[in-house]
Symmetry: C2
Subunit: 280 residues, 2 copies
């Protein structure tokens, strides 16, 4: 019960307006408080050795990341449309989604996996972006074993898988497209589910939040920035399930019709092409 | 480097013969050692309040679990063969695999999720099985947040998904069979990868092993008991990928042939049945 009260109190704080914080800053000057932590991350007693505050303002960081990603997506879309001019709008959107995922996984998260021990003290662009994001999840600055494991697997496996999904989407008539999409979407959905679950589990059972309680960080960064990896994979998964089941059903019907035809007409002995693999 | 030496030392111990332990027990009586932990789990300083040693011997525990699972598989196989007498041997094997997974996820792991706080002190059959397994991974007795999260998701999502895979395997001509199998196999593969990665990450970076170093526990329980969830999903995944891509390719060929036919003969205006969903 105690842990539930703690969780409830923390969530209430997280949903309150940021106004309260402005008031608290004034009180702080009057009341004698214990020494302030040397960093802005939660839980306040977490150790982040060598932490150096960001030098660049947030809009500049976001514009830099957005600019690079936008450039990568635009460039790859132009190439994709040259390779396959018949690419529909929805296919182009799926292509862009998987290119975005591949770039984030291999480069942005790849930087984290290679430099997780020095991110807190670094002033490189990706390090500053990670420090800003870590306001909503300090595990990114403490080399948390779960975060390090999930990010390593994401960089090594899911990044290349996303690029493969983008490639098979751009190529005309690739039959690997849908099974690969199902695999990638499952990886994203499970990854996000575990990412949310481990953090909320620690908040519930140990009363230790990893996010600052301001709505911007909890709802904006922690929930909001990860939510697309729930919504989009669910949509793509539903589409791929529909396509694959529809194709298997259609093939079963064609097979049934041909069986009826061959039983009347006699099956040709030199068919040339091999039969497609049975679906059972 | 220090952590790498620790890891190397621990792995050497884990691969040595169990003979060394017998020798160590003799030495222990002569040399004055720090107080022994009140439990047999690693790391030795981990707190497991209320731990009560198992009352049943290991062969009895394993026989009990094996008996129950065998009974469930035999019963469900008989039902499956009544529902679909044309079920091939390989389909029956896949059916049994997913039934086994579903039972373990929903009942054995479900027990853990509901009782994780009291497993260490309980003498129920599943609790004793979990205490035996925890010799290879003490996180199951410490309500570790990652283990609790991964097990909760497994019980709530992957258990029912496995039963659905078994059902669609048993039913004749279910087109949902292969997409569902791809989803379940990805869940198993990612789950095991993270399970191994988080534990080995902590061993490498913090030098904290969760498994006793004897080969039986590390190689037998920790590696061996989880390895089937790498090998079988890889095989099933490869088969489902082959079937789905083969079906999509065959359908594309049929579609191309029909397009050629319709362009010569004129497409009928009252087709009756709707066309299958385009695969692009």
């Amino acid at each position: 019960m105690a842990s539930f009260r703690q969780l409830w109190h923390w969530l209430q704080t997280a949903t309150e307006d940021a106004e309260a914080d402005a008031g608290a800053a004034v009180v702080e000057e009057v009341v004698v408080l214990p020494p302030r932590p040397t960093h802005p991350y939660y839980p306040e007693d977490v150790s982040i050795p060598g932490y150096a505050p960001n030098e660049l303002p947030v809009p500049v960081l976001i514009a830099a990341l957005g600019g690079m990603l936008g450039f990568a997506l635009l460039g790859s879309s132009i190439v994709a449309l040259r390779v396959n001019p018949a690419l529909t709008r929805s296919s182009l959107a799926v292509f862009c989604w998987f290119m975005l995922c591949g770039c984030l996984h291999c480069f942005f998260e790849g930087y984290f996996v290679l430099n997780h021990a020095t991110v807190a003290s670094s002033q490189s662009l990706p390090a500053q972006l990670w420090k800003e994001y870590a306001l909503s999840d300090s595990r990114y600055l403490t080399s948390d074993f779960f975060v390090l494991s999930v990010e390593s697997i994401t960089v090594l496996l899911w990044g290349p898988l996303c690029f493969l999904c983008a490639l098979t989407t751009a190529l005309p008539r690739s039959p690997l497209r849908h099974p690969l999409r199902i695999a990638a979407c499952m990886a994203h959905l499970y990854g996000v589910a575990l990412y949310y679950a481990t953090s909320l589990c620690e908040l519930y059972y140990a009363g230790r939040p990893h996010s600052r309680p301001e709505p911007l960080y909890f709802w904006g960064y922690y929930v909001g920035f990860n939510l697309p990896w729930v919504v989009v994979p669910l949509l793509v998964l539903a589409d791929s399930f529909a396509t694959v089941t529809s194709a298997l059903r259609a093939l079963d019907r064609v097979g049934g019709a041909l069986d009826g035809f061959w039983s009347r007409e006699g099956r040709p002995t030199t068919g040339g092409e091999e039969e497609p693999k049975k679906t059972r």
